[in-house]
Homo-oligomer: 565 residues x 2
């Protein structure tokens, strides 16, 4: 059996390795357009920032190591220029020698990935502008920084990162580590698109605290040559804003599937260019399979389709395709939940599933809770806040998604919630979830439990909520009273939630109930939301007819305000 | 409605708080036998070791704080001496004033906990011997250490920790931090009973590396007064071994439910003294509920019962009982999966579910995989090994349990597997589980994925395994060949797995197949198991009839051997 795999990084390399385990006799050919296979794609920003110093470690496998351990033939610098699905052949161009040849396959696995998007902006091909897709890009950026820092002095180099997604944020941190002046530019109204604005705001403020100039809601208009410096570029934004000349620009404007040849071959792709596959990851063409960033797969939360360019799913899809070629019982890919995490200085930000924006755009009903518990027992030193947003079906408690930002334990909580979603657990199950607890690592009631309890309380109608987005309107509504149950000292420290808020500390609420108006809508807040919830219970049970909890309370509201300001 | 709660730490305090949220009008009385409620029980070793320095933080709630925020009446130093379930009254002794009085209840919640076990060993009441159940114990141990270290000089104090469970291990670490000579004594053949011996061995060796004298398989015979020092004790073990005089002994010999009064009241308890409850956590007596360490609850993995003294489940049970008193729809407690973690110096050790020993004792069929991957991407600095044992049904792939030891990411992986178990996921689902990945926190294929893949490979018959326990017998069996596919340099560094092993590095196996005997049973090993699995695939597909993988390979075997030696 002849298996040809196009693309040798995450999905392609996994498919090759698994295929060899399942068959010693198969002829396996791996084609890679660039010079490297199976490289540490996600490590590239850290190499540029000198956190990773061993260049060799960036090449996880080499053609020689794959040949030796797996008996796989690897051809690098090989571009597939045509696929004939009826003949089961591909045409390959050897980019080193310039030869073109035809190769037959029994099974073809397309793991072509996605290429950085380069919109047709004037000046985008200028020197000093780089995308970061492969080790050659990485080496070029590294060399460019070395050269420019020598010319200018290390601290005087200016850099623009265009696009505030994963690679953008990782590059910002690393460029700051290398002592550059960094401006982050994002066309959308917020950084970190997979999150909602009030969660992204935590990162946004933190970037600014690290000296990064963050510009949102302002697309790039043009790059122009700087006066007297042909290797620096002046970036002009749609708003008319002009940035100082920068010696380096990183383009992190998202990716597009690399599927032109595939489409031309008559293999079905979506209008946006993603390869269409069935549950077994088989394409529209016989014996042609596809995996990784170029594929549109199932969104298991809504039963729709989406494209999610992440390394983990690509790896598992690669393994599954090999199984489906060799094993009798075909495996079915359940979908990608879109679990992701990024580090930005001391913070980690992680998401899973659907966000608020997406659900709103779809017009689906959903509820949100915001909590701010500690990552481990408060009495044990070093506890850090975990800011957690949980999004769920307001009636059924089905988990739609979660977003978490904090300094510690963020990866654990997103993985637990992601696993819960993959096990079809509901918010009530999160409330009951049994997790490990030792003072240095957790709490008897974990952040995930608290999120589940808060969500369960809303699903079961024990408490109703308003969101921070509604606060301003409510504060100016004469039929609403904002009740803040913080202690006076806290309010002095932070400023009032809204100037008109009525303040009764929780401990005094029962004895001061006569000061709370019964004929108004009450919106209750505190610092992080817990005491406000307690106060809501007290008020509701004392017959106050319209009581609502401000989700995430002062903390969530102040995050959102910091960035909006 | 009158609710009386007996016991005010984890389960009792949670029940009280939740009851108040659900009813402002209920009369809630919380009785606690000692002087403190809701204290940081799990933090006590860390206070003794000076990691926690704020004594106030150890009292998470006070009677006054509960009164103020929750309007709950708390009576400390109050011992329940009788329960009349037919009259719905209890008799309480005020241990401060000596008064005895009767109190009526509509609902009674028993959260009495478990008391440290003190077997009738000669000398167990001697000075300098302490259990650690409450803040008074903690303060006494702390004061004793201060006094003795002043008398003797800090580094000259000797200490025995009797019992190598959670509290024992935590105390050992903290006493070493306080510069003492520590001996850990355990009656069973291994430390850390919830784990299996080869996993506990990693901790065992590490304790020895930190200068702790670890004695296993040797129960305590007696404590005797040291010559010329009535405040030191000489411990003699069953084997006859006599330890040097120690100024401090911590008794961590497990706990027993504190249920004598409950049993006398005619409420059903098990032969071992645990309170029997139904799915709603209701006892055999009308309107009497029970939660926490004194209760026998469902083992959801086997559908049997067990008693699991852990803070997390106690808290959630407390909340559930309050719900079941006030809400129309009764909640059902699904059971306790026994998720636990302990830190021992730089290592964390965590478990969930059933272990090898327990399954063996029950005669149930099970399979085991051992893996040793990195906690995060190997190319990113600081990656640490995660030693993971996964136990599962050999036919159906149902997850029975897991054990993990390592320096980083242990809590995350145990929580992910625990969540998977609670979501009824199988080993094949672990292989496919989507988890977050950034180079500092994870890998594209996480340790949990690898464990799932290894297990799936055995369930589906792609590879068969032998365990380290079988190695010695197999090595001396002339019909078996142990094949080690390590590189020669590795074997020089570590010593051979067994002296008779045949060594063919994986990269040369295909070209040296003629050196591998076809008429023997082959047991294949390497350093951590991955290459051995690859080698098994090569051999099986080249027609070798009897090929088996040594689970966990050299690493697991050497852990087990270190301790056995």
């Amino acid at each position: 059996m002849k298996i040809v795999i196009v693309g040798g990084v995450a999905g392609g390399a996994s498919a090759a390795a698994r295929a060899r385990r399942l068959s010693e006799k198969a002829e396996i050919l791996l084609l890679q357009s660039g010079p490297d296979i199976s490289f540490a794609s996600c490590g590239m920003p850290y190499f540029i920032g000198n956190e990773i110093t061993d260049r060799k470690s960036m090449a996880v496998q080499t053609p020689e190591s794959l040949r030796r351990t797996l008996n796989i033939e690897v051809r690098v610098l090989s571009t597939v220029t045509d696929i004939k699905t009826d003949e089961k052949t591909i045409t390959v161009r050897d980019d080193a020698k310039g030869d073109v040849y035809t190769k037959a396959y029994d099974h073809l696995i397309l793991a072509v990935g996605a290429a950085p998007f380069k919109p047709p902006i004037p000046g985008i091909e200028r020197p000093g502008l780089f995308s970061l897709r492969n080790l050659q890009d990485m080496d070029q950026i590294y060399a460019w920084i070395e050269k420019k820092q020598k010319e200018l002095g290390e601290g005087d180099m200016r850099c623009v990162v265009a696009g505030a997604g994963f690679i953008g944020l990782e590059m910002v941190e690393q460029l700051v580590h290398r002592n550059m002046n960094v401006t982050l530019v994002e066309a959308m109204p917020q950084i970190m698109g997979p999150m909602d604005v009030e969660m992204a705001a935590i990162l946004h403020s933190d970037l600014e605290a690290h000296g990064v100039d963050v510009i949102v809601n302002d697309p790039i208009a043009s790059f122009a040559e700087a006066p007297k410096d042909p290797e620096s570029s002046i970036l002009t934004l749609k708003s008319g804003k002009v940035l100082p000349a920068a010696q380096l620009t990183i383009l992190g404007l998202g990716v597009r599937p690399d599927t032109d040849v595939i489409k031309q071959a008559g293999i079905e792709v979506t209008p946006r260019g993603h390869i269409v596959v069935d549950e077994t990851l088989h394409t529209s063409a016989s014996n042609v399979w596809a995996v990784g960033d170029a594929v549109e797969i199932t969104n298991p939360i809504l039963g729709e389709k989406w494209a999610v360019p992440l390394a983990g799913p690509a790896n598992r899809q690669g393994r599954m395709v090999a199984d489906n070629i060799f094993l009798e019982t075909k495996r079915k890919y359940k979908g990608t939940w879109r679990v992701s995490i990024v580090r930005s200085f001391e913070l980690y930000a992680a998401c899973v599933g659907l966000n608020d924006k997406l659900l709103k755009a779809k017009g689906l009903p959903y509820s949100v809770v915001h909590i701010h518990p500690n990552d481990h027992a408060g009495y044990y030193p070093g506890a850090e806040k975990v800011h957690l947003k949980l999004i769920f079906d307001p009636m059924l408690g089905k988990i739609y998604g979660a977003q978490i930002v904090g300094k510690a334990g963020v990866d654990k909580r997103i993985d637990v919630i992601a696993t819960a979603m993959q096990g079809n657990l509901k918010v009530e199950d999160l409330a009951e979830l049994e997790l490990s607890y030792a003072p240095p690592t957790g709490s008897a009631k974990d952040a995930v439990n608290y999120a589940g309890m808060a969500a369960q309380n809303t699903v079961e109608g024990l408490v109703s909520q308003v969101q921070w987005t509604e606060l301003e309107t409510l504060a100016s509504d004469p039929s609403t009273v904002i009740l803040d149950v913080c202690n006076p000292g806290e309010i002095e420290g932070n400023g009032p939630l809204v100037p008109t808020a009525l303040n009764i500390p929780l401990g005094e609420l029962r004895s001061q109930l006569n000061e709370v108006p019964r004929d108004k809508k009450l919106v209750v807040s505190c610092a992080s939301g817990q005491r406000a919830y307690y106060a809501c219970c007290i008020l509701k049970q004392n017959g106050f007819p319209d009581v609502q909890n401000l989700a995430g309370a002062f903390m969530t509201t102040s995050f959102a305000r910091q960035t909006a300001a």
